[in-house]
Symmetry: C2
Subunit: 522 residues, 2 copies
Amino acid sequence: MDQVYLEDLPLSQAQERFRQALEHAGMAGILGSETLPLDEHLVGRVLAQPVWAKISSPHYHAAAMDGFAVRARDTDFASATSPVTLACGVQAVYVDTGDLLPEWANAVIPIEQVEALDDQGRLAVNPRSPASIRLRSAAVPWQDVRPLGEDIVATELVLPEGHVLRPVDLGAIAASGHTALVAARKPRVAIIPTGSELVRPGEPLLPGKIIEFNSLILAAQVLGWGGEPVRYPVVPDEIEKIRATVAQAAETFDLILLNAGSSAGAEDYSARVVQELGELLVHGVAVRPGHPVILGMIKRRDRSLLPIIGVPGYPVSATLTGEIFVEPLLARWTGRRPLELQEVEAELTRKVVSPAGDEDYVRVAIGQVGERRLATPLARGAGVISSLVRADGLLVLPRGSQGLPAGARVQVRLYRTLEEISRTILALGSHDILLDLLAQHLAQYDRRLSSANIGSQAGLIALRRGEAHLGGSHLLDPETGDYNRSAIRQYLPDTSVELVTLSHREQGLMVRKGNPRGIHNL
Amino acid sequence: MDQVYLEDLPLSQAQERFRQALEHAGMAGILGSETLPLDEHLVGRVLAQPVWAKISSPHYHAAAMDGFAVRARDTDFASATSPVTLACGVQAVYVDTGDLLPEWANAVIPIEQVEALDDQGRLAVNPRSPASIRLRSAAVPWQDVRPLGEDIVATELVLPEGHVLRPVDLGAIAASGHTALVAARKPRVAIIPTGSELVRPGEPLLPGKIIEFNSLILAAQVLGWGGEPVRYPVVPDEIEKIRATVAQAAETFDLILLNAGSSAGAEDYSARVVQELGELLVHGVAVRPGHPVILGMIKRRDRSLLPIIGVPGYPVSATLTGEIFVEPLLARWTGRRPLELQEVEAELTRKVVSPAGDEDYVRVAIGQVGERRLATPLARGAGVISSLVRADGLLVLPRGSQGLPAGARVQVRLYRTLEEISRTILALGSHDILLDLLAQHLAQYDRRLSSANIGSQAGLIALRRGEAHLGGSHLLDPETGDYNRSAIRQYLPDTSVELVTLSHREQGLMVRKGNPRGIHNL
């Protein structure tokens, strides 16, 4: 077997190489469009053609109130002391809101503002069908009328190409005379998990076996980004099977995500499969996590090309590969802008060490403690999916940076809104299952608990530094036999804190009844 | 026919009355839950039960690199000059990334860092199955090992109840040993359009007829907020038909949106239908637009209750009624937090007049011109759906306010991201279809054009005040016969501007060939 080596290509170069190959394959823009009847499910779809108004809205001069349509000039000299009387049918016609104005009318007088009279000049029994109406003030031309085109004028631009549809847009498109729209078609994405160690959720889980859930994350990402994902069954680490599956998928999909086997191990066949079925553009990008990513183009039977992305196996790497490579591709293919996360400044609570060669994606928890917005780096391992679940944001260290000291001011890309972060209680210190119960409980009170296990002392120090709302502590004073009080006096001498005992923990050894082996210590 | 009168209830009181009625009906919390197999379509669903980890992840000590599993202490004194050799099978075992560590091992040495030897002590042909390995540095216990529970520890809280699922959450739920989750069931919402004047998109559109598209907007909103909408066909303004349709829908839905007939006109039957089928709680809320809203509870055959909302007919009112009343209800019923729009400060460019009695929802365009963030009120009419399409945000004037002067600093709820707004070019002044073409063109260059037709002079004045990027002007100087130059000199004497002629317009009268009627002027 040939040894496969990983490159270390800077991200921007990898993206550029990929972009050129896509352009060469005629896949740099939207993949195609389809005409779809107006429907509530079109929200999120991207317009592939601008919408120009076919008709005006309103498409006629419409009454904006229930009342009487009149010629404004007929009312010109009406006043409280010298009212004007208009004959119904000729000078005044009752209209409901939305009704067409007679051609000769140019104003509506609300029904509450007229005296409706019968043919004897008395107040009419039915104020909506009087013989005449009496007015005590003049009407202004076009008062209480929605003139033709008030909302939309025929031929005007309602929405531009590339617009991502919202509920209200669908209304405006219907109002402008359309029954359908032209949207970018959804890119079809095949997600192929490979690996003999993978089992599906629920299958027996022996040591050495791993639950396959990357395809679930990738499929959910693709759905949210406007693609149409199909998850393949797991393909074992056999190059023939992988090659056959990829070749078959290439015939019907626009993009293949091959996960994983993208590294350079003994059973990492992805790069070879891409080479054999087309062209390997990139093998290894200088990002962390996500380094062993593959970008390539493969050939269909009709010699047309499609891209393939070899997605690294660790779940954090796989998820970030989705964000870095798949999302912009789906944006381009549907004609919308790539998603951008809001960026805010925060203060780093702990130092971050980073390999200088890679662009480093550090997941951080963000907390607002008093006036300070604090970013705490979470577990760095590419296998720690919970770090992404907990992450409030992403700190990207550029290539060349070897890290940052505690206290550094950094730009963080937010996964949550600032409002959500402001509702978050930061608990640092010793961990206990009780904090999980507390988190569950606080959710009902509209508060989020974000906790990190950094040990009792570090928790108290974080409190002193104003870097946490809550410090979990279980420190025994061996002299007094008392818990926490002496430690608080020592670490937080000048800080006013409230000490709440959430639980008493008893630690010990659990042994068989009667302790047959006589275990008394470790 | 009884006259129906509209109340003028403050929003908070209306909401409170509705909340109490829902509580009384046992519909204040989530409507129910369902167990769903893990699937990419669950993104956006709300957890109705917390997820506690069933298993740890990894569920065994796993190699984090391709290499050799060893006991760290066996390598203790290895150095460059005095290497240590370990016998394979007993002291060292080859492992791929993710493989189970032998029970006796507690570290992995990456394959690149060992010398793999055959049984003669020479470099082995296959470095993955040597007879022994030689090391020139000591291993640290647990190096390159992913210890059991590194990511998730069995019994810990993975996600709390009420959490809205994202792609990465699905991965974490699978990783923690689940194959399904318990989500709040989707509320079923019937959307019933009423009105004899309504026609469906595409049907012949005579004067006085209106295209029914509110149901489309409401259904799309309900979908996005986690409900299951069903759009009914249009019911004509006949009270028996409306009553029968509502009574039938009540049997299978959780919420009915009756649109419209919610006002107090001759053919506004909604309030009466609600009264006849249950209880009319609120008829008329002091919000604008959206005043004639109805809140009520109606009774099913089994005497259980469900809410009904009479949605006003004007599309802006209908859309805002969705945002104000339907969204929080669906949030409550699915157990998630209500959506909140980001609020930012902006400077009002024009004065706003508001009726003191109502909470007033003013749609605004927001523009960033230099350092200033400017909010320009858009068309106020409740029928102007394009004002919502164009709106970048919502300015809410509280009850009691009679308006605000130009220059006032206001808080605006954003419909778009600030980033999107910063890419927006504000064009004020005279309008021309060319601006629409320009908007379409600019979309390709990642710029949004937001234009408002306020006339040529006002456009130039806006430029002078630094309230627009671009001023559309077609002002003739009658003395010179020249366009725009003199006006620019007059209105922008000290401002450096660039004058671009986009088009020459010729205005005139289009008459039949030969002008048979001899029309020569207006």
